[in-house]
């Protein structure tokens, strides 16, 4: 392999890249918008959901319970309480969507409370919205549990207590999403640089000019992938830093972490560009990469764990995540940006991405047609 030929192709792409910043802009604007909108739309806690309380008992104990509900309204503000006199009216409003849940304190609540006869409070919820219903249920459950606490605590408590220790400061969803956003930006560079531009150059006859020279197909493939990887590295790093500053990743300028970030973004860029090159190596129609852009984006981005943990996927989606280069990119970047791990947190992902790249590049060289 003659490196000066590989270098000539890289130089060509770099000159075009710096002349027209459109690719850089396109590869960063969409992921940044996604980071800001999705990050802050999905990341917040549920606030001020309306909950109806129907107190049919009107006792001292039921009033104590209602005061606790009112405490939530002025404290964490997970929900605000609206008193209803009629249970059917409350349930009607629940179905109509005016309230998110109905808490019913039944007629015999205080009697059963004092008789230690399993007093019950009913919570009917609108479970069409899982996020809100789960949050409300947790709040109501917490209050009911606190009602069950004995009024006088024994000096030696025999109950088992769970002490939760959080290793890292609270991670907002936007911070969690940053790794996926960086991967998305690399993917867009791969799609435009390794897919759309490659096919457009082919259909415009530009490749014929290179095929007439003594360049070997391995040099041509390596040159085009190297140029794409450099563009992916630049877009990925710029987005990681800008995105990191927006969502508030602490000590983003730590030089050791930056070095590891460069390593991960570089191998991820090589993996994604070489994957895209293998997909497009025999394609001639310029419409094809444009048509499959959305499909590939969905197929690679969402199963990677960038927006939702892989552990929550069905088995077939887990299999996609295993062969998806996004998965290892997202995992390594999350380890670096959220946990600030060293090489021990990324080396497995880096090795997998390197192996993936070797397979993709070898396949691309074997399938590349040296003749027209």
């Amino acid at each position: 392999m003659k490196l000066y030929r590989v270098g000539a192709l890289v130089e060509r792409d770099m000159r075009k890249f710096f002349r027209s910043p459109a690719l850089m802009m396109v590869s960063m604007v969409f992921p940044l918008v996604q980071l800001i909108v999705l990050g802050y739309a999905f990341g917040g806690k549920i606030k001020s959901a309306t909950v109806a309380v129907v107190d049919q008992d009107h006792s001292v104990e039921s009033r104590r319970l209602r005061e606790m509900f009112n405490g939530i309204s002025v404290g964490p503000k997970t929900f605000r309480v609206v008193d209803y006199d009629s249970l059917p009216k409350a349930l009607g409003d629940l179905r109509a969507g005016f309230v998110r849940g109905v808490i019913q304190i039944p007629y015999d609540f205080s009697r059963r409370y004092f008789q230690h006869d399993r007093p019950q409070v009913a919570f009917t919820e609108d479970n069409t919205d899982q996020f809100t219903s789960t949050s409300l249920q947790a709040s109501v459950q917490q209050m009911v549990s606190s009602m069950n606490e004995p009024l006088v605590t024994p000096r030696l408590d025999s109950q088992i207590q769970l002490e939760t220790v959080e290793m890292y400061p609270y991670v907002e969803y936007a911070k969690f999403l940053l790794a996926g956003t960086t991967s998305m930006s690399i993917f867009i560079v791969a799609m435009i640089g390794g897919g759309i531009t490659f096919i457009d150059d082919k259909s415009r006859g530009l490749h014929e000019g290179y095929l007439l020279t003594p360049i070997h197909k391995s040099e041509l493939v390596t040159g085009l992938i190297a140029a794409g990887a450099i563009k992916g590295l630049m877009a990925g790093m710029v987005l990681t830093i800008i995105g990191g500053l927006i969502v508030g990743i602490p000590r983003i300028w730590d030089p050791v972490r930056l070095m590891y970030l460069v390593l991960v973004v570089l191998v991820a860029s090589i993996a994604m560009i070489s994957f895209m090159f293998l997909v497009m190596v025999r394609v001639d129609d310029p419409l094809v990469p444009r048509a499959i852009f959305g499909v590939l984006n969905t197929l690679l981005f969402f199963p990677s764990g960038a927006v939702y943990p892989v552990e929550g996927f069905p088995w077939w989606l887990r299999w996609i995540s295993i062969v998806d280069p996004f998965t290892y990119t997202v995992n390594a970047l999350q380890n670096l940006t959220l946990k600030n791990t060293g090489i021990e947190g990324i080396y497995k992902d880096v090795l997998i991405l390197c192996g993936f790249s070797v397979v993709m590049i070898t396949g691309s060289i074997l399938l590349f047609k040296r003749q027209l």
Binding site: K2, Y4, R5, G7, A8, L9, E11, R12, R15, K16, R19, S20, G205, L206, H207, E208, G209, Y210, L211, L212, T213, P214, I215, H216, Q371, L372
Partner: protein, 326 residues
Amino acid sequence: MNAIEVDHLTKKFGDLVAVDEISFQVAEGEIFGLLGPNGAGKTTLIRMMTTLTVPTSGTARIAGHDIRTDADGVRNAIGVIPQAFTSDPELTAQENMLVHAKLYGVAGATRAQLITDLLESVDLIKFRDALVRTFSGGMRRRLEIARGLVHSPKTLFLDEPTTGLDPVSRTNVWEMIRTLRKKSEMTILLTTHYMDEADKLCDRIAIVDHGKLAALDTPTHLKDNVPGTDTVEAEFEGAPSDWIAQLQTLSHAAGVTQGDGVVHIASNNGPATVAALMDLARARKVTVRKVSVTSTTLDDVFLHYTGRELRDASHQVGLDVSHLYK
């Protein structure tokens, strides 16, 4: 020694035989033309010779390198200016030259001067830093030629180098090709469907039609082989059924053909044949609508060897949409 040796080269695309057992040789320093209509197989032939397409059978040796066994040797020895523009429109003229020089491994010490000299020779030095997308067709073609010469090849292939150019740009390209041969004694093979281009530039011409070699000789010899030194073209009204047979008896007439209502009379003395033609028409009460005398051209040569005019052959490959208007 021959710079190009083509040996029974054949290319089939399914049932279609695009190039059919073509053989010829081109001597060093010669300008050789492949003349034929669109679809005759010229581009397929040149693509096989330049290693862009694998032949179905047969082979060719370019500068001593076999296209089948030593493709890299061929690519290093030749410069190619394809029919389509292959320079990158998003790069400047200089950058296009630079990238190609690097792909060919032109030494860094001589690269800059070489590129400057080549851009000067094609009159693009003023536009060296302009993006190629701003160039006219003629400027792009000149740049393609300069780029094809960046590694100083001994043999140059030009596939329809003046197609789509205006008359001034065509003349400029012709001048460049002549200068190239004069200065560097380069072997040049070009394809064209322009008779005047082949006539003015080429030392020898191969006429290609339907993928086959119909004739091969110098332009002068090809014309000499056509009966008559002049061609009389005429259109008639009210001609009797035996009119063509009567025309063959005209003074100095060497042959008569007819196509599209136009009669072509090959003649050894055009003016004398026209005078006899007018007398005959007057006697048989045939109206002469149009008559002209020209010296024998390559059009007549093409007509002689293929049985049809080049412009007709070109039309045959076009899409027939006449049924849409019935």
